[in-house]
């Protein structure tokens, strides 16, 4: 299946989920509606698309507007050696999407990291707890609203003059 026909097939199959399609740095980028993320992912993972690997999950904080947080999923198909990027905008007030646990095992820690750093909630995650920061850490350090350089020491620190 060629790249154009593949994208056409994805558009046809996921017409309800896909908001727009673009291309960036040689990879196809799908913008997906938050509500249909999990079903779209499940469809992409199987069958003719065969995006069997979840390479990475990251998040971007655009600081303003309704879709403040944008989740970026990277998929990889080993059988066709192609990559696909999916973007999902989540609202600033209650940032949450469906968890991908059950589709990919590594979604567990990737989602925990995004939760830790950005405070995006993943509904259906079995164990959504901080991954990188420690117990007692308040706030989400990679949010633009997190105070610059604010440290949260666990033991008393001597102040330097």
């Amino acid at each position: 299946m060629g790249n154009e026909t593949l994208i056409e097939a994805i558009r046809t199959k996921l017409a309800a989920a896909v908001e727009s399609v673009s291309e960036s740095l040689g990879d196809q980028v799908l913008t997906v509606r938050p509500g249909s993320l999990r079903s779209a992912m499940a469809a992409l993972r199987e069958g003719p698309f065969d995006y069997a690997v979840l390479l990475d999950l990251t998040c971007v904080d655009y600081a303003a507007g309704e879709g403040r947080f944008e989740l970026v999923y990277h998929l990889y198909s080993m059988s066709r050696n192609t990559r696909l990027r999916l973007k999902v905008s989540v609202p600033a007030a209650d940032p949450a999407v469906d968890s991908l646990n059950g589709l990919w095992k590594n979604a567990d820690w990737l989602e925990r990291e995004v939760f830790d750093m950005f405070g995006v909630r993943f509904d259906g995650h079995p164990y959504l707890r901080r991954l990188l920061t420690y117990e007692g850490f308040e706030g989400h350090p990679l949010r633009k609203s997190y105070p610059w350089r604010l440290a949260q020491p666990r033991i008393p620190m001597k102040d330097k003059a």
Partner: protein, 158 residues
């Protein structure tokens, strides 16, 4: 009759001499500076020439704590515990820019210099410092040990 029939010294001086040439070090290695530590410790630069060749992997057997690399707030209690477990007399070397001042990391995660957690005797800056600089720092520490007031607890009341 030739040479030395007798030798006089002060207890302080003798203790300092003994201590500075028998440093057992505990490497607390967290980052890329560890490569330079390995380079300094192994045969090519050979830290053993200065009597600091015996690496101990238990803080209870060590008297020189080498903090090599970035220390984060998550790790800070561990470093403090390791320092507390070491027996007196003990010394600390901050190895590399991150241990000295936090280095290039000024953010929510990194401790801005390990002297906020433990007292530091010698700072070795550099990102990472060359082995020559490490050896120079070690010589500076030996000089400090030789000339500092020696703490000897036996025979004194607590």
């Amino acid at each position: 009759m030739s040479g030395l029939d007798f030798l006089t010294t002060r207890l302080e001086t003798a203790l300092g001499w003994g201590r500075k040439f028998s440093l057992f070090h505990y490497p607390f290695i967290t980052a890329c500076c560890g490569m330079e530590y390995m380079s300094a410790a192994c045969a090519h630069f050979d830290i053993d020439r200065f009597g600091a060749g015996l690496t101990r992997f238990s803080p209870r057997q060590a008297d020189l704590l080498l903090v090599v690399g970035t220390v984060t707030h998550k790790l800070a209690p561990v470093l403090r515990t390791v320092y507390d477990q070491m027996l007196e007399p003990k010394w600390v070397i901050a190895f590399g820019a991150c241990a000295v001042s936090g280095g290039i990391y000024q953010n929510y995660a990194v401790v801005q210099g390990i002297d906020r957690i433990v007292p530091v005797d010698v700072y070795i800056p550099g990102c990472p410092p060359r082995p020559e600089m490490v050896l120079d720092g070690l010589l500076k520490l030996q000089d400090k040990i030789q000339h500092q007031k020696q703490d000897w607890r036996w025979g004194t009341k607590p």
